[in-house]
Symmetry: C2
Subunit: 350 residues, 2 copies
């Protein structure tokens, strides 16, 4: 739990060793406040209080291949039972399917493990987020601050929308349209399986039964492109809870190219509102084509985590959403901040 | 001071009755959490616990023209001496010149008045913000939470930049370039006088001595256009304090048309950074041409104020910057939130 000194790094565990989990392992060394100490998925877990080898993790196909990793049917719970007190914060990149899976995992963590601290999830689906909200009381009692929807969308882009909304006296619509380029879909199997759910003629049951070869055939039939509309993304419930607008005014769609790392279209967030003077206008946030899904999920998730640890140290527990807090950043070169007398003077909310 | 019930409106005083002060008076009725109870500038103050008439205020040329307003050499202090306990939050739209003026006013408020609560400023200049930072201790003791740089830039756009930065492992530059259209410069005299300081051959002393007619002649010589570069805007110190990048990587410029309400160029925030993969890319936030300076200052300022009151009720005092917190919004139609069971369930940070 994050009762460590503020000059100690925040000890992070990653739950889920897919594309995002591995991406997070690579991201962490670039943010000086964090240290990766554990990674877990269904196949097993690896823990090292002195820090895990990030390069090794990014090359793993199974966590149990990591030296010293423990295999277990319930590896995530086993990790948090054994080492919960040696972990300050968790990045949860587990599948959204079935939608109750995340909430069940969290209930089990509360009931069966010794972990207390900050949990940040990169959940996408509205129902997955909704199922977490009622757990707020249990999480508060346990001493966990849970930040939901803290990846890219919801998360990064939702927060940008929440800022953009401020100019208007009424927010008429929020449209998130993303472009995603993936050079090799097999590195993001779970994500692609979730994307398929948004296509006509697919549902959770059908996708769960499809083999990887069948998914590959489906992608081939579409030239590798998946156009997703009216997606169930939790940006809607999060913006509603944040007071920005009712959820029916929020739409999320996008175009995924599963064969090219280059994005087929730039990702945009368009916030349209009515002004004090009665005009209707749109602010637009355009995401750099040079940034990847890992950049836009993992960077912001660490920003939410850093702010979350500040709040945790002030005694905030329970469930909040990404749109409730400003993600926090810390420049690499601490020297620069340390040598700046102003940085010493200003009190932060910590 | 904000010890009122959470279902009571936040009682706001506006300090400064120029274009922004009056704009704020018009904005407040559109945000259900606020009630305007006072306005003050050098010429006098008006206070009404039951709320001021916003339409009347927007038409005033001097505060003392408001029915029942009190004229005074030190009207701002007199207001806060007489009614400080009946005000929850202050929006400060006082001139940045001289740069010490704002800090002096705040010291006087701390020492000589009964006000305790939240203060939000729309300061622009780096040195004006820097002079406030050392007052944090006094403000904390007094029981005041002061949010500095909470207008458009710094404020709205700085916060957008702080969100955008999250994707990168290093932020290389933040460039804010604004377009401003003002149909009638006389409604923004103080702002235009400040803008003149950024032009070659001008300084504070010179501008202070210029008559309105001389300013008009200067504007005429430039076809009403002021191109501003390398502006001293506090976005730099605020982004440095927020850990985003060192201040020398932040530049602010813009083009002001003092004869047309239409913006001569769209306002943009461009955040350029290095990604995990080693690429350099830019996220860009493009502000709607349909929004005015009042929209982008006053709307966000109320968002910061609303979040500030939440934090104040938790016992947070002292100086923070706009980039430390997520501005908070509340949809007009409270009905919609009230009828949504989720809104009842989720705990906020309040």
């Amino acid at each position: 739990m994050p009762t460590t000194q503020q000059n100690q790094p925040i000890r992070v565990a990653i739950l889920g060793a897919g594309g995002l989990g591995k991406g997070m392992a690579e991201f962490i060394p670039h943010r000086p406040d964090f240290q990766l100490v554990a990674i877990a998925d269904r196949s097993g877990f690896a823990f090292n209080a002195a820090g895990l080898d990030v390069q090794q993790i990014s090359q793993l196909t199974q966590v149990i291949e990591y030296p010293g990793a423990v295999a277990s049917d319930e590896a995530i719970l086993e990790l948090l039972q054994a080492e919960g007190e040696n972990i300050d914060a968790i990045f949860k990149a587990l599948p959204n399917i079935p939608v109750g899976f995340c909430a069940q995992t969290i209930e089990a963590i509360v009931e069966k493990t010794s972990f207390r601290g900050v949990i940040v999830d990169a959940l996408k689906r509205t129902r997955a987020v909704e199922q977490l909200l009622p757990l707020s009381g249990q999480l508060k009692e346990k001493g966990i601050l849970y930040i939901t929807g803290a990846g890219a969308t919801p998360g990064f882009l939702t927060t940008a929308a929440a800022v953009a909304a401020q100019s208007f006296i009424e927010v008429l619509s929020v449209n998130i349209y993303f472009g995603v380029g993936i050079s090799n879909w097999e590195a993001y199997k779970a994500t692609i399986r979730e994307d398929l759910l948004h296509l006509e003629g697919f549902n959770a049951e059908k996708v769960a039964k499809m083999t990887d070869a069948e998914i590959q055939a489906e992608l081939d039939a579409r030239d590798g492109l998946l156009e997703l509309t009216q997606m169930e993304h939790a940006d809607d419930v999060i913006l509603e809870l944040a007071g920005i607008c009712s959820r029916d005014r929020v739409t999320v769609g996008g175009l995924v190219d599963t064969r090219n790392a280059k994005k087929p279209v730039s990702t945009t967030v368009t916030v349209t509102g009515r002004t004090l003077g009665g005009a209707v206008g749109s602010h637009q946030f355009v995401v750099s084509d040079e940034t990847t899904m890992v950049d836009n999920v993992c960077g912001p998730a660490l920003g939410f985590m850093l702010r979350g640890v500040e709040l945790y140290r002030q005694g905030k527990y329970g469930v909040i959403t990404s749109a409730d807090i400003m993600p926090r950043y810390q420049i690499q070169v601490r020297q620069s901040a340390a040598s700046n007398p102003l940085t010493q003077k200003i009190p932060t909310l910590v």
